[in-house]
Amino acid sequence: MAINLNITEAPTREARLGAITGYAGTLKELVARTGCGGAVKNCDRTFSQASSCSSGCAQTLLAGIVDAAIVNHAPIGCAGDTIYHNIANQYGRFYRQWGNRNIQLVNTNMEEKDTVFGGNEKLREGILEAWRRFHPKAIFVTTSCASGIIGDDIRGVISEVEEEVPVPVIQVSCEGFRSKVWASGFDAAFHAVLTGIVKPPREKRPELVNMINFRGSARAYITRLFGELGLEPRFIIPFATVEELAYVSEAAVTATVCTTLGSYFGTALEEQYGVPYVKTIPPHGFAGIEAWLRGIGAAVGKEAEVERLIASEREATEADLAELRRRFRGKRAVLGMGPSYAQSYLGVLEELGIEVLHAASWHYDPRYDYGEQPPAIVRAAARENDVTFSVGDQQLYEITNTLSRLKPDLYFSRHPGSSVWAAKLGITAVPVIDEYTAFGHCGLVNFGWRIVDALTNRNFVTKLAQRVKLPYSDWWYEQDPYAFLEKEAV
């Protein structure tokens, strides 16, 4: 079903895509059952640990737009995590040599009386204050559980301030209780950009690539790769300007480093403005980058140039990869990541010759908005060996139980707050926090050497584990890791 840009709120991933956060089984089984439009029932848990919410995901993207501001219509706690959005912002600005500046966000400080009498007036003032203070090119109004449950009229307030605020003021519906899939917050942010910022193209720019990412550490690498194809990347949406976002419709193609992040925006741009969206597996490892570059090449008619580029990149790195595979012989790993990375890294670790004993995915989308199953999981499931696969919104008691049973050499994780528990078990943890880890041929080799380094000296975690007792009862370690996951009635 096409993405509907005539509504204020992007429907949640559960509603749109049949996304789930509870499953335990095998990779092949999950892929088989969710192929051809099939679905699996989400299994709830009777014990759960902290997850994340849409609000954080929406704000981490939007707070990165350099000349926009956010009005977070919420109690103060919902803006507490802007502390780390600010860290990402300051790091990013430092590396771009842009000078130190805080993110532009005000919180409306909803209090008890506002939950009784409504918070519309505070929101109105918050928007006017954000305008007065920052003079941004756009203002995003992010919602919260509190504003959602009491039913504040966000649209009404926005239309009231239109005359006083001469820039787009856009609602971002990211109430935490609406979805267990925090990535729904990415969609909420992209939906706001699509409905409030993006304009029809003034002209088509055949060299321009919309490059959807988070922090953009591989800018130089990608600029070089694209340069050899006569293309030019525009990194979105953090560190982009409102003006740049307004004309993403002019690009020749949209690509993403993370299909969980980019599929909504990419699909919408394709449907709305005819900008093709590259639907290949993500660009990690040799297979990933090659499929992805070919996808870009096909979209812009540069197939031959892409083949030449792939050949030279491959040649420069093949010997290193062979050496890495030799070193990793017999090494075993568990991985826990968001769906795009969990699926993609099954391939990455196979290329490095590291055996994956179990993969955990923080949620699972049975299909993307363009109607197909995620290509990376289809590819991973096509391998000869099956692997146990679980879906959970970062339920670390399940992960800890699994790690203590399997005792892998390595734990690969993406998303903060997960790798620490493996480290405390004495397992070498290599976090994949930078979205461009293992990106491309060079990236895969760099990642491989990073793993070699981690395995070369394991003293920190070995000694830590001797001193630290994890919080779980002995009873828990004797249970099945999914003892609290309700059984699916088949």
Partner: protein, 445 residues
């Protein structure tokens, strides 16, 4: 009327309760709220608190009911009961604290009834309603302390004359709470007093359970922890006193003198302790004087911090460092009565050194107010406070840059260094503060 706030310098009430429980060994929180609350609050506190990190089942492993739309409609009580029972099985702890978020407080789950079922079975479960809209972290810390005091502490009629409890610390809001508590404990131990600190990695939960036998509660804040101390007195008969955070030799000496008087401790012992601690301080400060004086490191002080730190730091730079306090922004959300208490404290500072004090939590408005203040003074040479120095939080770096001032972060959030066992209280803490503040002035050499 309360108003909007740019990038808050705290978490919500839920966050303050959560980090307090997280800092208590073998206590575990059960968050009854939407999926993101626990991780957001904990993440903000542990990152902004100098990268504090996880201890027991906290961080992303915090037990949490993760309620969604369904429970908004049908209520979350059943889900909570199920979660408490499971948490007791899965997590090996001695105290389980149910704390709630906005969502559950708005939909009106009867969490007390759910928890009382477990309490009837003798399970160590307590509950506090900490909906985020009720206030900031300090309010939530007060809520959870009141619950601990009324629902967890053992009753006792016997008081130990040489035992005190230390209160007024909100983990992460005081980024240095662990080091500060340990140093206060060390100083008091030198006087023969046992101090319960509760919130360091070395505290035993039995000491919390048995805390009612202390003969005095010392609250190191004019505003935070006072309400729980009153409840403590009411329920357990232990009186309390309020003390400012004693940073530096002048404040620390005054604190120890008052304590000796209150607890009837021997004067000779105090004299020995004071002499030795001051000898340590001046043993290092004396040779540091070469740099300090030669480089003309006297500064105008701009202090931005919570009620506890803003006064304590100002006092230290006035009394010991010999700087000129110019402008102070107290950043917590305080009511009028609380503001009056904090202002009264500032009136203890000698008039010639008393700074302009404002109550403002919003970073950009602090800058505006400082500029207004500066604009009031004519200065043909540029700025009336040159050279200046900002002691604040990481959010105040742009302010320091704007007025070309030195900068050092001591208030939440601190994200540009790691905080482990550092502390600023006492004689040695004052020495540490001088060392850190002046180090920042020579850091680019």
């Amino acid at each position: 009327m309360s108003t909007h706030i740019e990038r808050p310098r705290y978490q919500c009430a839920l966050g303050g309760a959560l980090v307090t429980i997280n800092a208590i060994e073998r206590a575990v929180a059960i968050v009854h709220s939407a999926p993101g609350c626990a991780a957001s609050a904990d993440g903000a506190a542990t990152v902004g608190g100098g990268y504090w990190g996880t201890t027991l089942t906290d961080g992303r492993a915090t037990p949490s009911t993760n309620l969604i739309e369904r429970e908004v409609i049908f209520g979350g009580e059943e889900r909570l009961a199920e979660q408490i029972a499971a948490t007791i099985d899965v997590v090996d702890a001695d105290l389980y604290a149910v704390i709630t978020g906005c969502m559950t407080d708005i939909i009106g789950d009867d969490v007390r009834a759910v928890v009382s079922e477990f309490r009837k079975q003798g399970k160590p479960v307590i509950v506090a309603e900490t909906g985020g809209f009720k206030g900031d972290s300090t309010v939530g810390a007060d809520f959870i302390w009141e619950s601990i005091i009324s629902q967890y502490l053992s009753k006792t009629a016997v008081k130990d004359p040489l035992k005190v409890n230390l209160f007024g610390f909100v983990p992460a809001q005081d980024v240095f709470w662990r080091g500060n508590l340990l140093e206060l404990k060390r100083l008091l131990a030198r006087l023969g007093v046992t101090a319960n600190t509760f919130l360091t990695p070395f505290d035993k939960i039995e000491d919390l359970k048995g805390a009612a036998d202390a003969s005095l509660n010392i609250v190191f804040s004019d505003v935070h922890g006072v309400k729980p101390a009153k409840l403590f007195e009411e329920l357990h008969g232990t009186p309390f006193v309020v003390e400012p955070l004693p940073i530096g030799p002048t404040a620390a000496e005054a604190f120890l003198r008052r304590t000796v008087e209150r607890l009837n401790l021997p004067q000779e012992l105090l004299d020995t302790v004071l002499a030795e601690e001051k000898a340590h301080y001046y043993g290092f400060v004396s040779p540091f004087t070469d740099l300090f004086v030669d480089q003309d490191f006297q500064r105008f002080g701009v202090v931005v911090g919570n009620a506890n730190y803003s006064y304590a730091v100002t006092r230290f730079i006035a009394d010991d460092l010999g700087w000129i306090p110019y402008f102070v922004a107290v950043t917590d959300l305080l009511n009028e009565e609380q503001q009056a208490k904090v202002l009264k404290r500032f009136s203890d500072i000698d008039e010639t050194l008393r700074p302009k004090v404002i109550f403002e939590t919003d970073t950009d408005r602090i800058t505006e107010r400082l500029k207004e203040e500066l604009a009031r003074e004519e200065d043909p040479y540029g700025t009336p406070i040159s050279p200046a120095y900002v002691i604040g939080s990481n959010l105040d770096r742009p302010l320091a840059a704007e007025i070309k001032a030195g900068f050092f972060g001591i208030s939440y959030p601190i994200t540009n260094r790691i905080v482990t066992d550092q502390y600023y209280v006492g004689f040695r803490g004052g020495l540490r503060l001088i060392t850190d503040v002046v180090s920042a002035l020579v850091a680019n050499r």
